[in-house]
């Protein structure tokens, strides 16, 4: 993965703005930011402590070529997809999508922060949903709790047992899903073939093919 990072750094030769424009989803909008900071004031308050840099600062850092600092930042991973910045931005910059786009790119070239919990959630969710075409909520929760090993997982599960029991009693947690029961698509094979092709096309289009 770090090879991919070096390859991309070499390709763009220090032009980090161009790199983000071409590689990050909706990255071509970054240069439209006028540094007003409305995005920062619109981000859910209790997530601010997780920032290293507020959104408008990330945009200015991209233009200033601060490649390592941006790609390895925790900031983008704090995005809750609430779209408040997106609808308030006076320049109509699709900030939510840019945050996702930068984060995805950082992950793809191996520069995302180590053990980033929201990255782990994203991986787990997508792999879970695409395995059978539909989300298996029980297995999703299990994978999330047990990511740091059995002992830590049991501790987390114990702390959450009131929540889980409440859901089971209310008929909103199907324990059969733990052993692969529950809901799934019929054409799982077709879905897998379709997604493999989509992944291949995307890597080609972005010049990230292995």
């Amino acid at each position: 993965m770090s090879d991919m990072n070096q390859q991309m750094a070499a390709k763009y030769q220090g032009n980090f703005l161009k790199e983000i424009e071409e590689q990050a989803e909706t990255g071509e909008w970054v240069k439209m930011c006028m540094q007003c900071g409305v995005c920062s004031g619109s981000c859910p308050t209790n997530f601010h402590p997780g920032w290293e840099h507020p959104p408008q600062e990330i945009f200015m850092m991209i233009r200033a070529g601060k490649r390592e600092e941006v790609l390895s930042s925790q900031s983008m991973w704090m995005c809750v997809s609430c779209y408040n910045c997106y609808v308030r931005c006076p320049r109509k910059v699709p900030i939510t999508h840019i945050m996702h786009g930068i984060a995805e790119y950082a992950y793809r070239i191996g520069r995302a922060p180590k053990n980033q919990p929201t990255l782990h959630l994203s991986q787990t969710f997508w792999n879970n949903a695409t395995k059978t075409g539909r989300v298996n909520e029980v297995q999703l929760t299990q994978t999330l709790y047990f990511k740091d090993g059995i002992a830590s997982g049991i501790k987390k599960a114990m702390a959450m047992q009131d929540v889980a029991l409440g859901l089971v009693k209310a008929g909103r947690l199907n324990l059969m899903e733990a052993i692969g029961g529950g809901h799934k698509c019929k054409d799982i094979k077709g879905i897998h073939a379709m997604l493999a092709k989509a992944k291949e096309l995307e890597a080609q289009r972005k010049g990230r093919a292995a």
Binding site: P44, S81, V87, T118, S122, F125, R134, V163, G182, L195
Partner: protein, 298 residues
């Protein structure tokens, strides 16, 4: 023949035994009263939700939604797709918008769809259930079916994010949308005023950043109580689950005594239309809505 017909996209969380199964129960009952026919898109798949962005990337996410579009187009032609889940609606609408604005993306999407034996020509309209209620039926029609008004009940309409931003409901503002308050009033209850109506509950990050998300939820519940609300009502399965199931954890952490029932708009409507507690899916509440249970039994 039913008055209105749609291609139904129920979404993962609404399936039997899943976290929003009570939402589906109440929607089915509500649609029966309103003579709305919802035909499930055959073999529909997950929309990817917002949180899949990092692992999925761009094209695979749109392809997942495109598969549902193609299945709807093929099996239920010329019907609007209707989602009950805010995230399904947002994910699908976002894919529709991107695919309609980029021939390159659409061509790649069709290349991928071919692997599943599908092809996409026309992308159907993608709508949320509340849009159908408000735009295709209207508040007056919704109110006309009320047999038992929820008189005297004080309810905080919690709109949250994804039915409100970035697309929103036509004619509503992002900062203070009124549609949920109007739905509450159309069944005879009182919509309380509070300042956290469109605050984010933390969304999927309730899993990965629980402390931060629970602090968001605490702000929302607290403000709802301060407005005199006896319960919260929402149009989104994730808002519902987050604001309901973590109240116990928040109480432990902050010493609060939260015990606020969190309902779907559809559950209120079913009860006002004279449905039973079971029709409304009240047995699916983690925090029991006792006042509504009593109301349903009268």
């Amino acid at each position: 023949m039913a008055k209105k017909e749609y291609a139904f996209y129920p979404g993962c969380s609404s399936q039997k035994g899943a976290s929003a199964s009570n939402y589906l129960v109440s929607v089915e009952s509500m649609c029966q009263t309103l003579d709305i026919k919802m035909t499930e898109i055959p073999d529909w798949n997950c929309c990817g939700a917002s949180i899949s962005y990092a692992e999925a990337g761009e094209l695979p996410r749109h392809v997942m939604n495109a598969r549902n579009f193609a299945l709807a187009e093929q099996n239920l032609p010329e019907r609007d797709i209707v989602a009950t889940c805010a995230a399904c609606w947002l994910g699908a609408r976002e894919s529709k918008e991107r695919l309609e604005h980029s021939n390159v993306l659409l061509a790649d999407t069709n290349t991928a769809l071919k692997e599943a034996g599908l092809n996409l020509k026309v992308i159907p309209e993608v709508r949320h259930m509340v849009e159908v209620l408000i735009e295709d039926l209207g508040y007056a029609e919704l109110a006309s079916h009320v047999k038992k008004p929820l008189e005297g009940m004080k309810i905080a309409g919690y709109v949250g994010c994804q039915t409100n931003r970035p697309f929103g409901i036509a004619g509503e503002s992002f900062e203070n949308p009124m549609y949920l308050d109007k739905l509450i009033e159309s069944v005879g209850a009182e919509a309380t005023k509070y300042d956290q109506k469109v605050t984010c509950c933390g969304g999927a990050l309730a899993f990965s950043e629980p402390d931060k998300a629970q602090a968001q939820i605490k702000d929302i519940i607290e403000a709802a109580y301060d407005s005199g609300a006896e319960m919260l009502v929402t149009p989104c399965p994730l808002c519902q689950a987050n604001t309901e199931v973590y109240q116990g954890q928040i109480n432990k952490k902050y010493g609060t005594k939260f015990n606020l029932p969190v309902l779907y708009y559809s559950q209120l409507m079913v009860l006002a239309y004279g449905g039973s507690a079971k029709d409304a899916g009240l047995n699916g509440q983690v925090i029991r809505a006792r006042k509504l249970e009593e109301f349903a039994g009268k």
